[in-house]
């Protein structure tokens, strides 16, 4: 049975841990608000962009852009795996990595691009040491631009037959799920948003519908990546908030049970001492 001193030390160490997890929980709560605000600020851009694409898709009958054509047959899939840079968020990163692993099992020869340090490390473990990789952290817009440019050129050159994105979807504060979706080639119906083209009369395109479309599609890819990065960021902090909140609760429970154990141990020691005193007194014949 552990001594009172040992138990007291363990309780003290648990309390320290609890303080750290509590602080991390509060930081995550503050950061998730910021991440959600960034997501909201990106909304108007997203809406206008898809509106423009819808108009274009309605106006251009025959679309001839590499993004609209099927990729090279037999070329491997290119997968952009988006994870967080840090851990301590429960199963958040491992869920994403697992989704990527499943995808790679189904599609032989998958080529990875990673955004986020955790994903980078996982892909390196799988043997793709020199894959293109970025961090999720700072400069998201610039990163999105680079990832889009890189995947676009790989798709155009036929190094990859399609571009797939695995990122986290923030369903609610309590729930995040990995999401796998194909970004390139783009399906025309998706651009149209399923909505019947609104008859707004003839739209004039400068210099030409084809040119505007060929400029808009890479922008669309870039922005989709950007907003996925924002969402993954927000989902990460949501996962971390929950993980840290659970850790704080668990530390509290462990402290409670250890405190009871410590009190028992102390009481047992006192009882033992009393017995010894009484026994000693009896032996001496003290009345």
């Amino acid at each position: 049975m552990p001594t009172v001193r040992e138990l007291r030390d363990r309780i003290r160490s648990l309390k320290n841990t609890q303080q750290i997890t509590k602080a991390m929980k509060q930081v995550a709560a503050a950061k998730i608000r910021r991440a959600e605000a960034a997501q909201r600020r990106a909304q108007p851009y997203a809406q206008t962009l898809s509106e423009m694409l819808r108009d274009l898709a309605a106006a251009v009958s025959v679309v001839d852009h590499p993004f609209m054509r099927e990729g090279k047959v037999g070329a491997p899939s290119g997968v952009i795996l988006m994870t967080a840079d840090k851990g301590l968020a429960g199963a958040f990163n491992s869920n994403l990595i697992h989704a990527a692993e499943l995808y790679a099992q189904e599609h032989a020869g998958t080529r990875f691009y990673t955004v986020g340090l955790k994903g980078r490390n996982a892909v390196r473990r799988w043997g793709q040491r020199e894959h293109p990789t970025w961090t999720l952290g700072a400069g998201k817009l610039a990163t999105a631009r680079e990832v889009a440019a890189r995947t676009e050129s790989d798709f155009r050159s036929g190094d990859v037959g399609q571009v797939v994105l695995i990122s986290s979807k923030l369903i609610s504060m309590m729930s995040q799920r990995p999401q796998t979706r194909r970004l390139v080639p783009v399906v025309k119906d998706e651009l149209a948003g399923g909505e019947a083209a609104r008859a707004k009369g003839a739209v004039e395109f400068l210099p030409s519908p084809e040119f505007v479309l060929s400029a808009l599609l890479p922008k669309y890819l870039e922005f989709t990546l950007y907003s996925a990065m924002l969402e993954t960021d927000a989902a990460f902090f949501a996962a971390q908030l929950i993980a840290m909140s659970n850790a704080t609760d668990n530390a509290g429970k462990a402290i409670d049970s250890l405190t009871i154990e410590m009190n028992n141990a102390r009481q047992a020691a006192i009882t033992k001492e009393l017995l010894e005193i009484v026994a000693g007194a009896e032996a001496l014949g003290v009345e």
Partner: protein
């Protein structure tokens, strides 16, 4: 007071401007385009350049001038929307920093021309 049209300037990071404008002048890949209210539907690609707008104010017309990266403009009879990657107001341009960036861009002469053009744009505005 001249007729006005709702005008929005949007970047991925924020809505830079949202209000009424009498005239919006953008630099498309084909040249400058002035957009007045009741413009016929138009969707055009923009190259990096200067975006200017005459804003409707009670007393006098106010001028809005920004340096923008490449993007798109969507003009409809009842609204004008500009999407760009980045837009910087003239008064926010840090001349010293931009000059340094330009120098760095010139030094790396083998870099793509676009970067040079953008640095120049940020410095001179055209």
């Amino acid at each position: 007071m001249a007729a006005t049209v709702p005008f929005k300037l949007i970047t991925p990071a924020e809505i830079v401007f949202d209000g009424e404008a009498e005239l919006v002048i953008v630099v498309t890949t084909e040249g400058e385009e002035g957009i007045l209210p009741q413009h016929a539907p138009l969707l055009a690609a923009l190259r990096p350049g200067v975006l200017r707008a005459n804003l409707a104010r009670e007393s006098a017309t106010e001028r809005l001038e920004l340096a923008t990266r490449a993007g798109f403009v969507q003009a409809l009879p009842d609204r004008v929307t500009v999407l760009v990657d980045e837009a910087v107001r003239f008064e926010d341009v840090d001349v010293t920093k931009t000059r340094e960036e330009l120098a760095a861009a010139v030094a790396a002469a083998d870099r793509p021309e676009e970067e040079f053009a953008q640095a120049k744009l940020r410095l001179t505005g055209h």
